[in-house]
Structures are given as C-alpha cells and as structure tokens.
Symmetry: none
Subunit: 219 residues, 2 copies
DNA sequence: AAAAAATTTAACAAAATTTTCACATGATTA
DNA sequence: TAATCATGTGAAAATTTTGTTAAATTTTTT
C-alpha cells in the first residue's frame, strides 16, 4: 500500500511518514498540489493524505484536478473545522477528514479505516476506460471491449505494474507461466492485438526499446 | 449490501453516503428519478433511499416505473409529513418513511430494519423473467419453466453473483459442494441445458473464455 | 424392482485463441 | 546514408476451449 502525503510543512510530512512507515506502508511526499498531481500520474498511489491549505495549488484545486485523472481515496487535513461541510458539500470525493492538530494515532486509525473500505479494488478507472476485475470485462466509452483471455491477463498484469517497464521474459513468466518455452516474440503479437483493442488508448502501452513494454495511463 | 441514494441535493447525498459507508454498505447515488431507474437497471441495488420531491422525475413517478422493472425495498424521504398516508395509500411499495430534517442515526436504524425485514429476497424479476426463490420456480412470459434441481441451484448462484465471472471450480465448489470430485466439463453440460431452458434469455449466461461463466441480465 | 428422471461422462464438432513465421517498418549506430 | 537491429504486422497453422450430442450411470419415483 502506497500513501502520498501532501503538506507544505516539512515537519508534518516527516512525522506522518514516520508513523506510516512503522505500519509498513510505503510513503511518497509532495509539498504542494502541483507535485501531488505529478506523483499520482506517475506512481500507483493507493491513498492520499492531503492538507487543504497550501501555497501554489491548494487542496480544493488539487481535488478538482484529481477528479479528471482517476479515483483515489483521500483523507483531508485542515486547521479549520468549518471546512468540513465545504469539503463534503463540494463533492470533492474526500473519504475522511481531520482537523489540525490531530494525534498521529487518530490519523493511523482513519488511514486503516479508509483503506479497509476501499480494499477490494474492483475497478480500474481512468476517464472512460473501465476495467472490471470481478466481471473480467473492459469498457471504453460505455462500450464493452472483447478481450481474449491472454489479452485480459496481460492487461491486468500491466495495470498491476503501471509505470514499470516489464521485460518480455518477465511477462512470459508472470502471464504465461514459468513453464512456457515458446518464442519471445509471441508477446509482440499479443501486444499488437491488445493495442488494437484499447482503441484510442492504444498508446497507454508503451514500447521500451531493447527492453520490453510498460503501461501508463496518462501522458 | 448496495444502497442507492436518490436526492437532488448534493449535500444530503454526501452525508447519507458518509454514514452508510461507515456502516460498510456500498453506496450508489442518483440525483433524479431518471438516473435512479438507470442505476437500478444496471446494478444490483438492495435498497433505495428515495427523496419524494425532485425535479425531472419525482418520487411517485419513480416508484410507479420501478414496479414495472423489479421489486426493491424503498425508504422514502420527504419534507412534508402529510405525504405519509399518500405514499402508503397509493400502494407504491414504500417500506418506510422519514420526514426531513431527520437525524442520520435515525435513517441508519430504518435502513437496518428494512434490510432485516427484506433479507429473504423472494423474487428476482427482470422484464417477464420471474424467479421465485420461495417457490423454487421460474416463469418466463407467465409460463412456468421446468428446471431440474441442479439447474435451479446453478441459476440461483448465478443470480446471487450477477456481473461476476465465476470459474468452473468455484461453481463446482459452491453449487455441487466441496466434496465433488468429478469433471469440470459437467458444468458445461448443465450450462447448455440451463441456457436452453432460459429460452430468449439464454444469453444472460455469458461465456468468459478461459475462465468460466457469468450472469448478466440486461445489456 | 422397474421405470422415469436427472446427472455425469466421454467423444466429437465447432469455434475461438494462441503461436509461429515471414516480411514490413522504423529506430539506432557506424 | 547504409547497415543493423528491434519492433510492428498480417496471415496461416497449431492448439485450446467450448458447444453439443448421445450413451452410461446414478438417483428418484412409481
């Protein structure tokens, strides 16, 4: 589980990181909304802890922009209690809320609760791209996209390893199984077919020359 | 348990969602009757919390239309207390009723009560497809469809897991029991027979290649 | 116990998927 | 720029999976 901590105060980030890492979460840091969005685009974040009052790009703007990118559980932090209604009212997708100062213990409890609620990742959603893990189905623009079993498995593996370049060998081992003794290039053919099926999102599968492929949803 | 919250006020939906999710219900939202009907057609909703006064399609119309689609427990919300008799009088299948403003705590109590009362789902109704769980019978176009015991159990399990792809192994374990040591392909034969019996709805049983089968009623 | 119904198995047909391979295309380097 | 190397692509061949039928077996009913 990877958690992104967004706060302009270095000390706060440090303390939160400390606690999260003690509970063996992975931690990324960002000191403003700008950086946060960058990070979310590049890494697979499972939860964001977001300070509302920040310079540059504040919490509200960050949440608004986030909505155009992907869905992500968020715990908001703020110094003023009155913000609460505003956060809920604006429908900015905040899962929980804490006012500063808060006890780290309390934060940890919220983190666990939110992650528990969102645990069963049933969907991978980016824009109008919806992969339904339970239903083994992919929809793009509301339309069902027919994938063969290998294409589906390949896509799932890519998504589980977003942003990471995967060698052909690794793909064969993980998707085909260690006991596959066929040709490397088999993968290329499947990549081709998968790309065709992804339609307008075909270039989310990126060729890493001399190495393999990687999956990345945005630019 | 998935609960659909229908209200035109964003803030109300948010607050209700908050409370429901804290009690670990799944929540869907709709801001008018139109959307609500759409949602009910597409997802497996177990309970609807419905505001009576809404623009576009109000609560009454929504309830009327709902009756043609399927049975579903409903808790109604309204600002005026006098509505209560009307709601019951029109026999629109409202299970409980709350006047605004109400305390979330009160709502939660009603939700739990209604779900407890309706726990034993008696019918699964889609168009003229009517599965009667109590009577162990299936009717299509008013005609009784004769199912063998295995076919019936298989169908029930599919319906309880609508939209979810089920492996042959899982089906064997759940429908046949953990102590069945026969052939995988037994399922295929039963699927064939079940499909034949479903007649014009035969393709609600969808083949998930390389994996198993899933059940999905509408398009 | 016989008959009927339901379930399971096995075999084959049909359909879909996977793999291979040859060649095209595009990138990189000398 | 030519040579080289890695990847893209199309189509046939090989394989796998599913659909279907019919016969064998088990269970239930009469």
């Amino acid at each position: 589980m990877k958690i992104l901590v967004v706060d302009d105060e270095e000390l706060i980030r440090k303390v939160i990181r400390e606690y999260l890492e003690n509970s063996s979460y992975e931690v990324e840091e960002a000191c403003d909304g700008e950086e946060a969005i960058e990070c979310i685009k590049k890494k697979n974040i499972d939860l964001m802890i977001l300070d509302i009052m920040m310079p540059k790009k504040d919490g509200y703007e960050t949440l608004k922009e986030l909505k155009n990118i992907r869905s992500l559980p968020v715990i908001a932090l703020s110094a003023r209690k009155e913000e609460y209604d505003k956060l809920l009212g604006f429908e900015l997708g905040v899962d929980d809320y804490l006012t500063k100062p808060f006890s780290p213990r309390e934060l940890m409890a919220r983190v666990k609760a939110v992650l528990r609620r969102n645990k069963e990742m049933n969907y991978y959603i980016r824009k109008d791209f919806v992969l339904d893990f339970k239903g083994h189905s992919l929809k793009i623009e509301e339309e069902e996209v027919k994938l063969t079993p290998k294409e589906y498995e390949l896509l799932v593996y890519f998504i589980q390893n977003e942003h990471i370049a995967l060698s052909r060998e690794q793909l064969l081992n993980k998707v085909w199984g260690y006991d596959f003794y066929g040709d490397d290039r088999t993968i290329d053919t499947h990549i081709k077919m998968l790309r065709n099926n992804l339609g307008k999102y075909r270039d989310w599968i990126i060729t890493v020359r001399g190495m393999g492929y990687k999956f990345e949803s945005e630019e």
